[in-house]
Symmetry: C2
Subunit: 442 residues, 2 copies
């Protein structure tokens, strides 16, 4: 593979396994490797998935290696008869398979540590193509390996996502940094909830167009929009095909204009998601949070609890799926439920205020809605959702009309509840749009 001087190295991903083709497993490894490649400054041009068939793997490895600088192969390193990757890569590289005595010893040691007897089938995992070098796997039996194939560095990793992720970070990337002149692409991420993709583009494109006029370094600025209902993430990238892209500093110059154009939907910049920001801000401010949930069934609280360290601010939640629980646990007046129905502004407000009272937190957010597929009416169709946030200073409410299937609506309603909570934290001066970005290479 030859490429113009100064342009970014090219990578491909080759995923191996019938389970990826029969739809049993979603190929999350490809997405993970794509993110890592991007952060490293490697351009991923191609993902390919092939079956557990030796001849098909050999052909795919050869073809991919002839097109790129780095080939990331995953899957098929297990001990069973349908694990053919090692043998196929050896064939593609035209070198014999060898059993490595050191690798056998390491494998036996791993089984000893888990107090298990090693089945003979696992000996296969100590075989590698003769001129390959091992890649350590401290959390699984399948070590990876790498070798050169006509100028392409071929890295072979297990398909189990957490094993692959660790191997990519700890074994593959240091070797890539050593081997290639990498220039990570500068990237600026803006996170929004409450504006559609096209409405956002209408606001962002003029800002970007003006910048392209203004600066040579920004001419090849790349913008993309990633919709993750109901959120949209806008990414500015200093891509440069000729090696002259914009740097971090130039990109950060967009912040003010973006904030002005996109408020109040813009909730933050950088990689951290909404629950992470809420937990960070509430913890810093010493505020305790709780939820009162109907149609989301606990998803809003579970979203907050997914953040490490959530216990520093999360009290808990009352999931009042049934109206009786809304009355008994949240103190929602039976007359309100009767008069306005469970999916209504007064009930959403009463739920938030009830949770605040019952759980004695500082802020409470409530969600009630119609997630479908049944239960909609002309006046309150499926997707009608009321969210409310309450604190000592009062209660705010929002009526939403969301679209999608039941799962989509439940996720979107929970995200909107987080947004309302976030906005209240911003209003109280304890949260900002600040850049809260874990380093992409960590």
């Amino acid at each position: 593979m030859t490429r113009p001087h100064g342009s970014a190295p090219i990578a491909e991903v080759l995923s191996i396994g019938d389970e990826l083709l029969c739809g049993d497993t979603v190929n999350t490894n490809a997405a993970f490797l794509g993110q890592r490649a991007r952060a490293l400054g490697v351009v991923l041009t191609h993902v390919e998935v092939v079956r557990d068939r030796e001849d098909e793997i050999v052909a795919a490895v050869r073809a991919a290696a002839s097109r790129c600088d780095v080939l990331l192969v995953s899957g098929g390193l297990g001990p069973t008869t349908d694990d053919l990757t090692t043998a196929a890569v050896a064939l593609a590289a035209g070198c014999p398979l060898v059993r490595d005595a050191d690798a056998v010893a390491r494998l036996e040691e791993k089984f000893r540590r888990f107090a298990r007897v090693m089945p003979p089938a696992n000996l296969k995992q100590a075989e590698r193509p003769e001129r390959a070098q091992w890649l350590d796997n401290p959390i699984g039996s399948a070590e990876g390996f790498w070798l050169e194939l006509g100028g392409c560095a071929v890295f072979v990793m297990p398909g189990v996502p957490r094993e692959l992720q660790r191997m990519q970070r700890e074994q593959v990337e240091p070797r890539l940094r050593e081997r290639l002149a990498l220039r990570p692409v500068a990237r600026r991420v803006y996170r929004l909830l409450g504006l559609g993709e096209s409405a956002i583009a209408e606001k962002v494109e003029p800002i970007v167009d003006a910048a392209r006029e203004r600066s040579a370094a920004l001419r090849q600025l790349f913008v993309h929009y990633r919709a993750a209902m109901p959120e949209v993430i806008v990414v500015l990238e200093g891509t440069a095909r000729d090696g002259e892209g914009a740097g971090e500093d130039e990109l950060s110059g967009f912040d003010a204009a973006m904030q002005q154009a996109l408020a109040p939907a813009l909730y933050g910049m950088g990689e951290a998601d909404l629950p992470t920001r809420i937990v960070a801000a509430a913890t810093r401010a010493g505020l305790r949070l709780c939820c009162a949930e109907s149609c989301t069934g606990g998803a809003a609280a579970a979203g907050l609890a997914s953040v490490p360290g959530a216990s520093a601010c999360l009290d808990g939640a009352i999931v009042a799926y049934d109206n009786r629980i809304k009355r008994e646990q949240l103190g929602v007046d039976a007359a309100l439920l009767e008069q306005h129905g469970a999916v209504s502004e007064p009930v959403a407000r009463a739920m938030a205020e009830g949770a605040l009272r019952s759980l004695r937190s500082d802020l409470a957010v409530a969600i009630t809605g119609i997630a479908g597929p049944d239960g909609g009416t002309a006046e309150k169709p499926v997707g009608t959702v009321h969210v409310a946030v309450a604190d000592r200073d009062g209660t705010r409410h929002l009526r939403l009309q969301l679209r999608g299937d039941r799962g989509t609506l439940q996720r979107a309603a929970a995200s909107w509840a987080h947004k309302l909570l976030w906005d209240r934290l911003v209003e109280r001066g304890v949260a900002t749009l600040q850049w809260l970005a874990p380093s992409p290479l960590e």
Copy 2:
């Protein structure tokens, strides 16, 4: 593309879009199309993802069409400048692009329906390769299209998952059934929670080996194991490369042996997941359910609420993330918390019994554990989880030692709570292993 008489048609998937390569979007469309292909009796041999570059799309379409009977293309049908799929497919097919007046009218009508003015850019979506035929898209602006390319039927669909899914079901599959002699592969699904993949394989392989000896039709029986922590799904398939596979009847003959070998981890057969089964069984029996959750933060209740019609049995939940909420809302004795710690058998039991009392349901399930990454000790490492289920007849408890990161542990703990609830329903005689399978083609 020629293939031996009687063998299954070959399909490939070609997904187009930079967002799939930079890791912003996980390619769930490929998994969906893999499932559909399998159910239809089409063998998916290859998934490929390429960038939004016209020349790369043209090359990929041509190469794939030369290898298969059916090419399913997705993505790149939007109105923006980086949507290049239609033009590229026209180039690959060697026919001009035409703007279709009927398609323009349909597009304008769609915008009218959503009370929006059609931006001029969208006119692009009314263009198709001259000899292509449209595929209707009732829920989005991007219609699909299909054409023949040297014996391969090329179907082009939008990348938005719900639009693609509907188009595949309603537009693509009827045309495939018309065009190809399809013989769906018989498939039997066994669902387990509580046994590892290799332990399950040790029990299943002898059963399958014996059957292969016994019957010619079963000789090519295919078994695969799909681990979805903490569940494992075992799939038996009457695959036959020479067209002589086992049918539904022969596969159902395995049920008794599988039940005997895999109980008590086997919770059901067929496609329905654990929450769906719990909601169905509890509803039929007229039993009301609730949850008391600590480390899962509401995920167990949200899992039940994800099932359409959950309101027929789900009362709600108390998420007692903080110990104060465990005391105040669930009536857990402060002395218990003090003496045993929040993550302990007595507290799990008290939480389940407290929820039963507070929410007045028929069954309550409780979860308390250490989801990490911090908070573990030598005695109670991260992954220590206690679950308990309570009803009028008493309380059962299970201590688990789970592995994985925070998200994995929370999901696994919620699934184990569902399993405990399910086992109690089985014990009470209101749930069975019955085949609860939506038709795969519905």
